[in-house]
Symmetry: C2
């Protein structure tokens, strides 16, 4: 490798690098996104592929395990199901946090790749069978009926799934939040302690691959039906909670609501519609797990113990905000899928619901988590959220909010 | 906020900023880590707290939801169980990827924080009850016996849990990999497309808070017993696999092995020892989920279909390496906990095992996943790994490797 370290904050743009015309109706007009690490002059984005896993790639190259100029062989990797294009892809304001052409690069830009341009997928679509013990239990209890196609008698479920890395179009993102692009860029630079100086020095680069976790989609039923007005859609939009999703921690309703949402999705697929689970990597309301555990301690140790009326306060003391998930970006994935109406919406969050309806996506029926699925210690969370505006058929008042008490740390 | 943008690549070190003496035996001698965003001159690390979630913090400040100078109120957030100090903390080579004092900052540096220094925890320790359907099934099947203290008849399990953000001491990390610090720094800079120019311009800053996911620890039994030679320890070291861990995808053994490992941990706690699950945020062998799904497609579409003999090749074609998890850093968390011997090790990975024994941590008994827990489509993975050196009581030969066939994409 060259002995010369190239700082990236100065433009060295190659005139042959394709322009990015975000929201253009065809991949050719939109142009490929180039995040080459070996040819800085060819780049037209800030950041690199694979998000934060770029740090592990660095270890791989530093330790000699990986060639620094490795280029992926994309043979046989193309999507296992077709998605799009949908009319929403041609509106630069509708999708600002993912690349609608991200799964299609190996075909849409085949000529450019063959000519040596380093264009990589930001979305991958495959197929799988999943099996959760809760679904087996739903079959045993008679809530779900195996059909041999979508759901097998042993609880196996056929799914299509997609992994999506975030791709941010900075002007569109700023517009979505109603702020200036320069304010967005400056805060991205300052609040990360100076990650990517190009954010403030390279205003000509409009696309940013942020090193944050992306999302995974699980589809139930025929993906090809998405985007047709007559297709009924069920959906659970789920933000990661590792402690509940994997380990079944009983302080929240995350995994129970996810499993219930999947039941709703399977039913919809069996009725000829499509079920969709969107799983976002936004641990602890995008505050991260260290902050989350600090808040748990503060909730359980405060005078009077853990209770719904002070649920949000404790988070705000530690983190400065109650929530950092920014549901403003939530509509993008639905626009990508061509979805304009969700018939059954397995979520009670007023923030998620508000973000969709503000984007013109109709939500027909909201499906709350059944009471019997709420774990013992999660009543504090549930009541606090209902009082704060979560959808339910009943909203507790101040006196009722004072009733549920969470466990102490030693219980 | 000031109109002047401060680029971070030039040293502006305040003489009053504490030196970092990595591996010093007391927190006072080691010194606090300062990642202040509002006082660049006071910083003694590269990067910022909360890892990649700093990007969401930037959205929070940019949109006006969070004050840019918010400081956490750490009241009541201190660890729910004491961990350390252990003698290993005073060896600068034993722990290079986390801050051993990271959970203790609110007490160890109370005076400095009161005096205005922005010192934040990188580790949080709380308590919880977890419940996984697999554990209920183990109780029903008689494999686990409820004791009313660790394990309740309904399957509830008492745990202590810790969230750990990565903290990298760059000279120690380079030494661990047997490379020059300058090589490590340069590749961290180049392979991330220029994230943090300080990596190459500020050699005086030796500590890096990388924007990657950290780890979560689940403890079963009395945490205070760790670090005593007579304490028996069971452990499952688990690298994240969202598709299996949460959704039960049947192409791998991740969740079944995790649930089995937790069973082993509960048994050990019931016998007076300590069980430990280490959950690492290293999705898809730290290649990320987009790459993982691309590889699934390539495996299932290759001529001859998905089979064990070509299992690793497909990953290498797409990613350039078979694995980026770098188990070289694995011993750190065990050193942090004072663990020198693991009596029951619920993992078959030769890489994880080799990393521990190379670091002088004894592994007494290796516990493979019981055959009946291997899902239908995961035989390809399991045989490929056994042939490549995974621990088992039987290693398949080339002829046997050709036998198991994974499902095609349309099956």
């Amino acid at each position: 490798m060259s002995a010369h370290i190239v700082l990236t904050s100065h433009p060295r743009r190659d005139a042959t690098v394709p322009e990015v015309r975000w929201g253009a109706p065809t991949p050719e007009e939109r142009g490929p996104l180039v995040a080459s690490l070996t040819n800085p002059a060819a780049r037209n984005v800030i950041g690199s592929h694979s998000g934060a896993y770029a740090v592990y790639r660095a270890l791989a190259v530093a330790s000699g395990a990986l060639q620094r100029d490795h280029r992926p062989d994309l043979t046989n990797t193309a999507p296992a199901e077709a998605i799009g294009p949908h009319p929403q892809w041609a509106d630069p304001d509708k999708i600002v946090s993912l690349d609608p052409w991200g799964h299609l690069v190996s075909t849409a830009f085949a000529d450019r790749i063959a000519a040596g341009l380093d264009v990589r997928p930001t979305i991958a679509i495959t197929k799988a069978h999943i099996n959760m013990p809760e679904l087996q239990a739903a079959v045993t209890a008679g809530r779900l009926q195996p059909d041999g196609a979508i759901l097998s008698p042993n609880g196996d479920v056929r799914v299509t799934k997609a992994a999506i890395d975030p791709v941010w179009y900075l002007p569109g993102l700023a517009k979505r939040f109603g702020i200036k692009e320069s304010t967005l860029r400056r805060n991205l630079f300052e609040q990360t302690a100076g990650m990517f100086p190009e954010l403030v020095t390279r205003n000509d680069l409009k696309v940013f691959l942020p090193p944050i976790g992306g999302m995974t989609l699980y589809f139930f039923g025929d993906v090809a039906k998405l985007g047709r007005p007559e297709t009924k859609v069920a959906c659970r939009l789920h933000d990661e909670c590792n402690g509940s999703d994997v380990f079944g921690s009983d302080i929240c309703t995350c995994r129970p609501y996810l499993a219930h949402g999947i039941e709703v999705c399977i039913e919809m697929a069996q009725q000829g519609g499509v079920g969709l689970v969107v799983y976002n990597r936004k641990e602890g309301r995008a505050l991260g797990e260290v902050t989350k555990f600090l808040v748990y301690n503060a909730r359980k140790r405060q005078t009077g113990g853990d209770r719904a009326e002070t649920y949000f306060e404790r988070t705000e003391c530690v983190a400065g905000v109650q929530d950092m998930r920014f549901q403003e970006l939530t509509p993008d994935v639905f626009h990508w899928l061509g979805i304009t109406r969700i018939d059954r919406w397995a979520s009670m969050s007023n923030m998620k619901h508000g973000a969709l309806t503000a984007a013109g996506i109709e939500v027909v029926e909201r499906v709350p988590i059944p009471d019997e699925l709420i774990p013992a210690d999660a009543r504090v969370e549930m009541d606090a959220k209902k009082a704060a505006g979560y959808f339910s058929h009943y909203t507790p008042d101040a006196n009722e909010l004072a009733v549920p008490k969470g466990r102490g740390l030693q219980e």
